[in-house]
């Protein structure tokens, strides 16, 4: 069984800003979600889990056999901006060609197939600055989805999406997880998370205060600050 395991990870920017110690075990075929107030460390935690930040202490291990050109972890950022010098199609194809080593024809097929899932097939020749915020966000999703990272992290993937596409993204994420991948998602739409998550984490001031099944964490929280957080949701 392959998994990503974080043990007592800590990352401090100054004495009271930062995260940790946090431990978590992320398994495949599951969708994890992370909720918490602004500036609670959600983005920092994701950055640490994807090895973008140097940890102050603790360790992250991934139990995974690396196949050729296979992407292990990847992130979709909070303000997703496609590369501005490439069209929508080129944005999706570039990593497929240069990292996954597909030939041009296969890369194009896979890119178009994934773009169709995100409703972007009629926009493939557009440049990012010609698209609205929601469409740009979908381009970045497509780009990462097409690369099929085994551990996919999404930082507020729904921030620019309308309700219909939020719903659609939920379906895509469920399928993606059931294909043998892990999905870790930060979002503020509690109802959306309730529907798709297997495990929910609540973070505040850099610490995980509650974790468990969504019906329990989001329905009957025991932690006081989580109760307060959900009251306003």
């Amino acid at each position: 069984m392959s998994f990503l395991k974080a043990e007592n990870i800590e990352k401090k920017y100054s004495s009271n800003i930062g995260i940790g110690p946090i431990s978590m075990l992320l398994e495949k075929n599951k969708i994890y979600s992370l909720i918490g107030p602004n500036a609670s460390g959600k983005t920092t935690l994701i950055r640490c889990l994807c090895f973008l930040e140097k940890l102050d202490s603790g360790s992250i291990t991934i139990n995974e056999t690396k196949e050729n050109n296979q992407l292990i972890t990847s992130v979709v950022f909070q303000q997703p901006e496609p590369w501005p010098h490439l069209t929508v199609l080129e944005n999706v194809m570039l990593p497929l060609i240069h990292v996954a080593k597909y030939n041009k024809k296969d890369a194009r097929l896979l890119a178009e197939e994934t773009l169709a899932n995100f409703g972007l097939l009629d926009r493939i020749k557009y440049f990012p600055h010609q698209l609205s915020g929601g469409l740009r966000q979908r381009v970045v999703h497509t780009r990462t989805f097409a690369m099929k990272p085994k551990y996919l992290f999404l930082d507020e993937p729904t921030s620019a999406l309308d309700p219909e596409w939020t719903e659609q993204l939920g379906k895509l994420l469920k399928n993606y997880a059931s294909d043998g991948n892990m999905v870790f998602i930060v979002a503020h739409q509690i109802n959306f998370l309730k529907k798709i998550s297997d495990i929910v984490y609540f973070i505040k001031n850099g610490l995980i205060l509650e974790e468990g099944h969504p019906s329990q964490v989001l329905g009957h929280p025991s932690n006081e600050s989580l109760q307060k957080f959900l009251e306003n949701a």
Binding site: C50, S74, F77, P84, H85, H129
Partner: protein, 225 residues
């Protein structure tokens, strides 16, 4: 009422053509040397090595601050006395204008790379691109496109500054015009002609730079192709 007589221009056409060609030649060399050196310096300023950073920064600040006219006079008249180094007026002009241009280009290159959102580079790394692939496929193309409009307007400035070479008697357009005027006493015709020539040389660049600026990515344009 002043009576224009354009025959004078025709009469001195050979000198004027020579001067125009020399002006063009001077500027072509300056643009090439200044650009190459400027890009190199801009990249040096972005290296991890502190010593290179300091050298590049000092150079950039120095030559962005010193007026071209002062530099021209200093290199042409002071260098021979102080260090016994004598260089021709043309070479001095190339040197000084290149020093000036390269400092500005270096600053543009530095800012052009600095201003690429970190997001673009990080997402490339997260999608599995190597360091060099990221540079080649993402950083460089975005930076180049950002840098082109300011670089073109810097070129225009540099070409305009090249008339200063006349003070050390480089036979470029202004210098030659002044010489002709002192013989013919027809300043209006020759200075007007000079203005027209510069307009012809520079107007395409100006229009081009405007076009490039309107094509910049980070402007949120909504036109569909």
């Amino acid at each position: 009422m002043y009576i224009w007589n354009w025959d004078w221009i025709w009469l001195y056409r050979e000198q004027l053509i020579d001067a125009t060609l020399l002006t063009l030649w001077l500027n072509v060399i300056v643009l090439i040397i200044g650009s190459l050196f400027g890009v190199l310096l801009g990249l040096l300023k972005r290296t991890r090595y502190k010593i290179f950073k300091v050298i590049a920064s000092v150079y950039i600040d120095l030559f962005r601050t010193l007026p071209v006219l002062v530099l021209l006079i200093w290199f042409y008249f002071c260098m021979p006395i102080l260090f016994d180094i004598k260089i021709s007026a043309f070479t001095t002009s190339v040197l000084v204008l290149s020093l000036n241009l390269s400092a500005f280009i270096a600053e543009i290159v530095d800012a052009g790379i600095e201003n690429i959102p970190r997001n673009h580079i990080e997402s490339a790394r997260l999608l599995g691109f190597s360091y060099w692939q990221t540079n080649k496929l993402i950083t460089l193309p975005i930076a180049l496109k950002n840098m082109t409009p300011p670089i073109v307007s810097q070129y225009i400035n540099s070409i305009k500054l090249s008339v200063l070479a006349s003070v050390i008697a480089v036979p470029e357009l202004l210098n030659v015009s002044q010489n002709i005027i002192s013989q013919t006493y027809r300043p209006l015709e020759f200075y007007t002609f000079l203005a027209v020539i510069f307009l012809i040389i520079l107007l395409p660049w100006t229009l081009w730079s405007k076009r490039l600026e309107s094509k910049s990515f980070f402007k949120n344009k909504k036109d569909k192709n």
